[in-house]
């Protein structure tokens, strides 16, 4: 059967299990939109307000359900508007398929209207990219794109699709599995032996989880290892939600704004088993201090991460779930009462810094939201102080319920990502914690949330400033607050209403409680603007490049 390139694309998307696409139409992609109209019973298209919202939504979708998220945009400005979103997916290893229209192949390279070499622009922020120059390659390219995005260490793949190829006719043959997939690496017996010996010899073992644990759903395996070793678990920001926070030896986030006990105990451990983590500078601080006097056992799917940021003498490279099972089965039970006592002591110390019960403090705000949500609710964040507070105080219990931009730290990520994440689970209840800075960047996607009837609660930690920048300036730039005060008269609740959502402005905990009560009666978007104090910093904080010795607690 001879069909057009645009039709072949849709057939292939359906074959690869795509049920939802996020995007925005335009001149060079109108053929695909024509086909989407005809297949709207099989693929739902979510029209956003801006391509950036669409790409964050596709990323959020992928992070929430593990399947590849798909975003569609036109050439030129449509394509360049995807760049931040592709970079966010790349940094956090999220499986994203970005499909861009382009001018006809005969017009390429001539600075045609809305022509951009998007392959060139995105080259260093994709796992791979394709331009479809021959219709006969199309089905195979789509197939490869999905395989690349969702295999090994996941990541974004871009398909640039010139308009004449979308229109070309071709005898369509569904894509076939090409060569058998290369098996991921397996650690050797001697690698396991080295790891087992190091773990046996350790007195104070510590398990440190990164985003790989969430991606691989390896929480159970991590807990089995932790149980056997009686080792505490700390997590990088991307690792949060990977293991339930209810686990007795769970310490929470480590790193620059990590919790006191999690960081301190990490610095006292004689062995760190790092699982699915890449040792970002925000997670390690000073690398020399991080590795000093301790053995690192690094478990990761990506061989290039071994010895990239941290030199680990012992590495187990491959599927982390499988490796954890093998490793745990080779180990005997461990029990060091002194280490356990020390863990208890550090946590007790940490608990003494609770916010006052009725204060309108981020900690209480987050706890109150948690009381209204069940463990399944998806929590998305933007980037800034509010993000750090969520990481510190929200007790995550299920994997993939946290959607946040870690590696790239892209302000404006949250709203689009929250919409995508909710849709990945048939409009699941989703809470977006954001700040007045981040929310201001992409709040236009409220239009999308309203039209899609997303049961979305947006909680703005509104302190009238760019809090993390302000904090850096206050601490390290002698209080020279250059451009970090916003103090804008924007009425976010009014903005929400203008978009057709509900909006509340609150400045005390009882008011917030009442607004939450109202919000949870609805299944549509609600924005609650929380006017919080400017004095509250995101603490603890380990200054960039420093270690636990320099931790700022007050």
């Amino acid at each position: 059967m001879r069909i057009t390139g645009a039709q072949i694309l849709i057939e292939e998307l359906i074959r690869h299990g795509v049920d939802t696409i996020f995007g925005y139409p335009g001149g060079t992609i109108v053929d695909i939109y024509d086909q989407l109209l005809q297949h709207q019973d099989r693929i739902k298209h979510v029209l956003t307000a801006h391509e950036q919202g669409a790409v964050h939504a596709a990323d959020g979708y992928a992070r929430a359900c593990g399947k590849a998220g798909v975003v569609l945009a036109t050439s030129g400005p449509g394509a360049t508007n995807l760049v931040t979103g592709i970079a966010a997916a790349y940094m956090d290893s999220s499986p994203l398929i970005a499909i861009t229209g382009n001018v006809a192949t005969s017009m390429l390279g001539k600075d045609s209207f809305q022509e951009v070499d998007i392959i060139g622009v995105t080259q260093q922020i994709v796992k791979h990219s394709f331009i479809v120059k021959r219709i006969e390659d199309l089905a195979g390219i789509v197939h490869e794109a999905f395989r690349i995005a969702t295999s090994d260490r996941n990541g974004p793949v871009l398909i640039d699709f010139p308009q004449d190829i979308q229109q070309a006719l071709y005898e369509y043959q569904p894509s076939e599995e090409r060569d058998p997939q290369p098996e991921p690496e397996h650690p050797s017996e001697s690698d396991y032996q080295a790891a087992v010996t190091a773990i046996r010899n350790s007195r104070c073992p510590y398990i440190y989880c990164g985003g790989g644990v969430v991606r691989a759903l390896a929480g159970t395996e991590v807990l089995q290892l932790a149980e056997k070793l009686q080792a505490p678990i700390g997590l990088s920001m991307m690792g949060l939600s990977g293991v339930p926070s209810t686990y007795p030896l769970y310490l929470g986030m480590t790193g620059m704004h990590g919790l006191y006990a999690a960081n301190l105990l990490q610095s006292e451990a004689d062995l760190i088993i790092a699982v699915g983590a890449r040792f970002s500078d925000r997670a390690t601080g000073n690398v020399r201090e991080f590795v000093k006097n301790r053995t690192i056992v690094h478990i990761d799917i990506d061989p290039a991460e071994i010895n990239k940021n941290i030199h680990s003498r012992i590495a187990l490279c491959g599927d982390i779930k499988e490796i954890l099972r093998h490793l745990t089965s080779r180990l005997e039970e461990k029990y060091n009462p002194q280490w356990l006592a020390r863990i208890r002591e550090c946590r007790r110390q940490q608990q003494s810094w609770q916010a006052k019960p009725q204060a309108f403090d981020p900690q209480n705000i987050i706890s109150l939201v948690r009381r209204y949500c069940d463990g399944d609710a998806i929590v998305a964040t933007d980037v800034g102080q509010h993000q750090m507070w969520v990481m510190q105080y929200y007790p995550f219990s299920r994997p993939r319920t946290l959607i946040t931009s870690g590696g790239l730290g892209a302000m404006g990520f949250g709203l689009g990502a929250a919409i995508g994440a909710s849709l990945a689970h048939h409009r699941r209840r989703t809470v977006l914690f954001t700040g007045d800075g981040s929310f201001g960047m992409n709040l236009i996607e409220l239009a999308t949330a309203v039209c899609q009837k997303i049961p979305l609660l947006v909680v703005i930690m509104d302190n009238g400033m760019l809090g993390l920048v302000h904090q850096l300036q206050g601490r390290f730039y002698a209080r020279r607050f250059s451009q970090s005060f916003l103090n804008r008269p924007t009425d976010f609740a009014g903005v929400a209403r203008a978009y057709g959502a509900e909006g509340y402005t609150v400045s005390s905990l009882p008011e917030f409680d009442e607004a939450l009560h109202q919000a949870f009666l609805r299944n549509t978007p609600v924005v609650i603007d929380c006017k919080i104090s400017q004095d509250r910093e995101a603490l603890p904080m380990i200054p960039p490049g420093s270690s636990i010795k320099d931790i700022i607690l007050k």
Partner: protein
């Protein structure tokens, strides 16, 4: 310690592949001393040789990061002691009459071939190791260089082993 090292690769013979490889070096701040690309006996694949500099850490990362590129099918280090490496030089020299005998002797001693000559000007080709080519250029500079063009290094493992064959792809 920073050292020169040579990496051989088999890559897909497609537009944009050189860009991806060079872009990776740029992004990760690795050096490229020279880079050469040419088709293999199988038109689907090209062979690339890159000469780079760096310590053991860089060397390990270069190999691992290159291996992750979709278009890179094979990659391996070509150690100096066990690889044959060659570079091609075209050099145009100005040779004053009184230097002619000395220059001819020098060119011959490097196995050079005179491709073209005009009055006091010759174009010579030499194929040798990078080190010998450097040495020839050094000596030629004393006579008079008008223009040089170097191919960059190509290399292959000695003996029966052929880690970069394309016959098994």
């Amino acid at each position: 310690m920073e050292e020169k090292f040579t990496v051989g690769m088999i890559v897909n013979n497609q537009a944009g592949v050189l860009n991806r490889v060079a872009g990776l070096f740029g992004k990760r701040c690795y050096n490229i001393d020279s880079i050469t690309v040419g088709e293999t006996e199988n038109q689907q694949y090209s062979r690339m040789t890159i000469v780079s500099r760096g310590d053991e850490y860089t060397r390990e990362q270069v190999l691992k990061q290159l291996s992750k590129l979709y278009d890179v099918k094979k990659v391996c280090l070509l150690p100096e002691e066990s690889a044959i490496s060659r570079e091609h030089l075209l050099i145009k020299m100005h040779i004053p009459a009184e230097m002619k005998a000395k220059a001819t002797e020098m060119i011959n001693s490097f196995g050079g071939k005179i491709l073209d000559f005009w009055d006091d000007c010759v174009t010579v080709e030499i194929t040798d190791s990078t080190q010998m080519i450097d040495e020839f250029i050094h000596l030629a500079a004393r006579i008079g260089i008008l223009e040089i063009c170097r191919s960059g290094c190509i290399a292959m493992v000695q003996g029966k082993e052929s880690p970069l064959t394309v016959t098994d792809l």
